[in-house]
Symmetry: C2
Subunit: 417 residues, 2 copies
């Protein structure tokens, strides 16, 4: 087996643990110098490959690579850039192969969600045809948890832990205050199409918290929603609402797009949480507070799930091993062998079965009334938030690494993206 270099890139929205996968890829590649030469990373994701803006990770000291395991965000930069179909933009795919060829890259590790699985798949097909075969391995990542086959997606477990914990803490807060003040707390969470993250907020019901969850999978029904909230307030004195950003009306309009106006006549500026909070205030008169967690939730490495960190690393590690074993066009997956106690192992799936398939919450994970989760869903979720994996702290703050990210000298001409 000849020694080839590897290319690694991060794709799409970053997470608390995508760098743990990077760490798994790089450390494992470094352990096989007889098979893999250097690991080049794409600066800002696949854009870095197209523009030949490569990072030489071999110049990064061992401790920096190790620190990636506990550092959130994308250490090499990521991007939202979806390659078009082969027919629509063959030029980009050919450029990728050209760059790989120029830098003797035989392995392509692409760390992302559904779109990047698709890109990865196409690269493996085309490189074969172009006579410079590249082994393309997709490393799963997405807080949305919507990739098929794998039991779950790295990044999701940590967001779930953060949202469940934050919803619990804020609910305790409002419970303290509800006799004379705030009775409604609304937290908005990510998940445009799939309600996995919202489901994590629903876990707090197990601790006696009255929580109403709004999933993208369930069409919003204002009347039934308000009645459900009102009943909780009458029974408990307060109510928490966990609303997915993807929650929408029967006609498909997102709640966040509702053109409401504030007291000054200004258009209400984005956010499903303030829309829901104001709706409750207008109809039921209850005082509210609302929070929009946004990037805080997917970057919250300080509260990462231990199983999530371990899986993110293991998937990166296994991706390299699979490449060395000669595999191509596949994705390592998490396979659950037991929920209680939680046991898992790493399997793999062909990219042809992964690309362009979205996994939504199964209907039997959502309660009959549409505002909560079922025991099946609980059994699925709890293992994913299990365990803590705190980063080191210095002067009161997490000690995260910022890489040197030294550039690889270019060999080709410029390329417009």
């Amino acid at each position: 087996m000849t020694v080839k270099n590897a290319f690694y890139a991060q794709s799409g929205g970053v997470t608390a643990v995508i760098n743990a996968s990077a760490c798994g890829v790089i450390e494992t590649a470094r352990a096989h110098p007889d098979k893999i030469g250097k690991v080049y990373a794409g600066r800002n994701g696949i854009i870095g490959a197209l523009t030949e803006d490569l990072i030489d990770t071999s110049q990064e000291p061992e401790e920096n690579i190790a620190a990636l395991r506990h550092t959130p965000s994308g250490g090499f930069g990521s991007c939202r850039y979806k390659l078009k179909s082969l027919e629509a933009n063959r030029r980009e795919y050919e450029r990728l192969i050209e760059v790989f060829k120029a830098h003797d890259i035989g392995y392509f590790f692409y760390n992302g969600g559904g779109d990047s699985a698709d890109t990865c798949y196409k690269v493996s097909q085309l490189s074969e045809k172009m006579g410079f075969p590249v082994q393309a391995i997709h490393v799963p990542k997405t807080v949305d948890n919507d990739l098929p086959i794998t039991d779950n997606c790295p990044g999701f477990g940590s967001v779930a832990k953060y949202i469940a914990t934050s919803t619990l803490e804020a609910s305790f807060d409002v419970r303290s205050m509800c006799a004379t003040s705030t009775k409604i707390f609304v937290i908005e969470v990510m998940g445009r199409h799939a309600g996995w993250i919202a489901a994590a907020g629903a876990l707090v019901a197990d601790q006696g918290i009255p929580v109403v969850t709004l999933f993208p999978e369930v069409e919003f029904n204002q009347e039934s929603f308000l009645a459900t909230v009102d009943a909780k307030v009458k029974e408990y004195g307060y109510c928490t609402v966990c609303v997915s950003e993807g929650c929408h009306w029967p006609d498909g309009r997102f709640l966040a797009e509702q053109g409401t106006r504030d007291a000054f006549g200004h258009a209400q500026l984005g956010g499903a949480a303030p829309v829901v909070a104001n709706m409750i205030k207008d109809a039921l008169g209850y005082k509210y507070h609302w929070a929009v967690a946004d990037y805080l939730q997917r970057a919250a490495r300080h509260l990462a799930s231990k199983s999530d960190v371990e899986q993110a690393y293991a998937l990166g590690q296994r991706a390299v091993e699979l490449a060395i074993e000669g595999h191509n066009s596949i994705m390592p997956t998490v396979v659950r062998t037991s929920s209680n106690p939680y046991r898992w192992e790493i399997g793999h799936a062909p990219l042809s079965e992964v690309a362009n398939v979205e996994k939504f919450m199964p209907r039997d994970f959502i309660s009959e009334d549409g505002y909560g989760i079922t025991d099946r869903c609980r059994e699925y979720l709890y293992p994913l938030i299990e365990g803590e994996d705190y980063p080191p702290f210095e002067k009161g703050l997490p000690k995260y690494v910022t890489l040197k990210n030294a550039a690889v000298p270019k060999k080709l001409g410029a390329f417009e993206v």
Copy 2:
């Protein structure tokens, strides 16, 4: 010394560590059965005293009281209820004394901010005049960090740690994405009049993050703000904005004002972040994300500052000791004896000097341009976020206590509040 019962109540917005003060009060009182009988807590704060709705904390097992140390929110309930002046509503103060008399209460521990320090002060004055002297001790608490004399206020250090950490994490996230996507991240933090919490967000500048901070102490200047943000984006590729909910225009209008008011007649805030984000988008065209942390920040016991927890406990403990030593109408305070290494001890101050005094950020804590902090401010802040004090976890979530809160049988007639 005769044995008297004690009354303890939580006041105003709750925090991640107010229960640690409650723990300090109750455990210390339990250690002195020769001086203090039972500790009665007000259900939902001072309202519980007025309506004779008292909680018998002696019925709470030792482990529940111990667990208060790591449980956020107000374990006995809190309220936003400010007693009027003695002249305007003598009836309420007299009722308090009547309740204290009926339940043989000789100690009044009031755990809150500026308003409750004032109430505490008046109770001590009036009870003397009414011939049933009650020793009134105020236990400081407020995330706003705006009480005078004490070096800082319990609750603040933990919020500061949470906001600094969250701002750091989200800034790493946007740094990863800024080449092709989001360039602006706006986080809105609490602090209606004082910019202490916003200052904590500014700490991330020490880690190379371009951050622009908007304080309530500095009148908002749209032109200079936009120019500052634009310069950061041009230099770093992205910019984080940490905006205090109290940030306001020169005419006093809050950026966030929604037009609703709370029980004290204060404008209800929330929504400065989307206002600022849209302003940047409109003027500079940069793609943004924004977060409103709201209750998440003050309830985030999972990321509490160790020094904050220790001080919250020590102040509750010392309040009881001061009472036993015969003090009245005072507040235990944190006295800083060294910043590096951080050393502190507990002192005390007369309530006459605490009540109705608000402590703002000193001008020399805010940088010349008004958008950052100075080294003096850094020296003040870092010790307050030092150390971690994680709660125990179970099934992936913090294990917080919900008290039994058994009622004390009533002895008096009803009272309208």
